[in-house]
Amino acid sequence: MAIAKAEKPLPKKKKITAKTLKSQRALLIAAAIFVIYGIVFYYVPLVGWLMAFQDYSPRLGFLGSEFIGIDKFKFLFSDKTFLRVIRNTLAMGVLNLVTSTFMAILFAILLNEVRNTRAKKVVQTVSYLPHFLSWIIVTGILHDVLASGGIVNELLLKFGWVDKPVNFFAKPEWFWGLVAFSNVWKETGWNAIIYLAAITSIDPSLYEAAAIDGAGRWQRIKNVTLPGIRPTIMILLLLSIGNVLNAGFEVQYLLGNGLVQSVSQTIDIYVLRWGISQNDYSLGTAAGLFKSFVSIVLIVIVNQLARHYGEERLY
């Protein structure tokens, strides 16, 4: 993994002797407990992936159920809904990644240019707030703002852009945009923290030199700030690519409704619907396994790409 490989090799090889084991008894016992915990809660579920190749029935259990090969996967890829679900997950994942990265960088750069420290502090404090609210609350207040009597429709009507209130939640063409907007609203301030830290670590003398050379604010942002945070942007982008398929559950589940389900359903929702609601555990597992597989492939690709940036540290 891109992160793991930075582990520094230990200076000299440790020899495991009875004496060291005895002196580290307390550590060993505690470590054993953590290993057991890890096996039960993180590694045992991995064995559960085998269910994707079974016709699992709770009555027969995991060991008694019949193996049926890749039938469940055949069903998945012949199911039009599943193909649409893949498209939705990818589309929203990429859209969210692009919009939230762009907004976080823009916000960090602009906030950094504020000279009034007090104003800066206030804006930044406000910007963190939505991150601490749950998706339930975010979708709830989004619903109020976009309701027929909400502020957005009120403004649209006032400026004469629409004749009657728009029901945003009933329009499939608005859904991906709504999801991206809620993500930006919730996470921009939080995501900007890391970019702000990167900007802070840029050598101030670069700015002074640029100013002496006659660079205005725009020029300094373009020629000093942006190149300065480029490594951070690259690393964060690469790391989030492996997560692209994970970006699709809570908002879509909470904002989705019958009218927009052709664009709102994601792989996770599909898994939930088939696995938990319809009790087809094997099909749900197969869909989940497919998602994990794609994610792991993406991480491996990204890891290869990251090698080119391997020398660059975030700070």
Binding site: I3, L28, G38, Y42, S148, G149, A215
Partner: protein
């Protein structure tokens, strides 16, 4: 860096335009961030039936505290609040302890399985069993239908553990070495030497876990749907939200106009109650989460 920037006195062409654009952008940003929350606050103090007419901004039109009274009378919301507070407190304390101990073990340079144990946990960040196998496992372990399903599965998280470990690695070895010479065991080193120095990073991780616990709803829905005694505040909010969203038109609610609270207004009140502790606390914890994010992004 703002101090160094003040040295640049000269005004360049375009700087004025920049400043206007910047002020405008950040002002709009703050308004867009705060307006929806203030709007919910206004609705929560407004008569429910009146609110359906729309047009309420940040000041209530027909003031009432009835929405809050309704919320405080509902048994489900009271239970939810109690469970949410319990899981946040217990979940945070236990998870912090577990992550700190594990981080302590993998930060011992002399520990024989240091590397193996670290890799064992880093793997869990990248592969996981997914929804269905996890669900079946919790059922097998008899965790579903209990309060502990909120606490036990999340005890150790590799990310939080690594944040603490990175911090512990920065503590000079000489401190523990001298304690060891004095005959202190690992338990005593953990409690009396390392932990007091780790207070800032403990605060960071506690904050991350607490926010996660406070905001969780999916586990309540998935594992404890049939156990109303273990419902959480967020799950109750979710039910209120869906009852609001399912009335596609307002006709249904307008039928009983004498009813002065509506799902929307009750939800607004419950939302305000839920976010109040967060809004009051987070501004004072800023430096902790900023540190945590910075530590977390340092390569594990």
């Amino acid at each position: 860096m703002s101090t160094s920037r003040t040295k640049i006195k000269k005004i360049y062409p375009g700087d004025v335009a920049f400043r206007i654009f910047n002020t405008l952008f950040l002002t709009i940003f703050v308004i867009i961030t705060l307006y929806p929350i203030l709007n919910t606050l206004a609705i929560s103090f407004n008569d429910g039936t009146d609110a359906l007419r729309g047009g309420i901004h940040i000041v209530p039109r027909v003031f009432t505290t009835k929405n809050y009274q309704t919320v405080l009378q509902r048994q489900a919301l009271k239970t939810g609040a109690f469970i949410t507070v319990s899981r946040t407190v217990l979940g945070t304390v236990f998870a912090l302890f577990a992550n700190a101990v594990l981080a302590f073990i993998v930060s011992r340079k002399e520990f024989v399985f240091r590397k193996q144990l670290t890799v064992f946990w880093i793997i869990t960040m990248y592969v996981n069993g997914g929804l269905i196998p996890t669900f079946l496992l919790y059922r097998k372990l008899n965790l579903t239908g209990t309060f502990w399903v909120y606490v036990i599965p999340g005890l150790v998280g590799a990310f939080n553990m690594l944040v603490i470990r990175t911090y512990m690695n920065g503590i000079p070895d000489s401190l523990e070495e001298s304690a060891m010479l004095d005959g202190a065991g690992y338990t005593r080193i953990f409690w009396t030497i390392i932990s007091p120095l780790c207070k800032p990073v403990y605060a960071t991780v506690a904050l991350f876990v607490a926010v996660y616990q406070w905001n969780s709803w999916f586990d309540a829905m998935l594992y404890n749907r049939l156990r109303p005694e273990y419902t959480t505040l967020q799950y109750e909010l979710m039910k209120l939200l869906s009852s609001v969203m399912n009335q596609n038109t307002n006709v249904e609610s307008l039928k009983n106009v004498q009813d002065t609270v509506t799902p929307t207004s009750v939800r607004a009140a419950a939302t305000i109650i839920t976010i109040l502790p967060i809004v009051c606390l987070y501004p004072f914890l800023q430096r902790y989460f900023v540190t945590g994010l910075t530590l977390g992004s340092v390569k594990a």
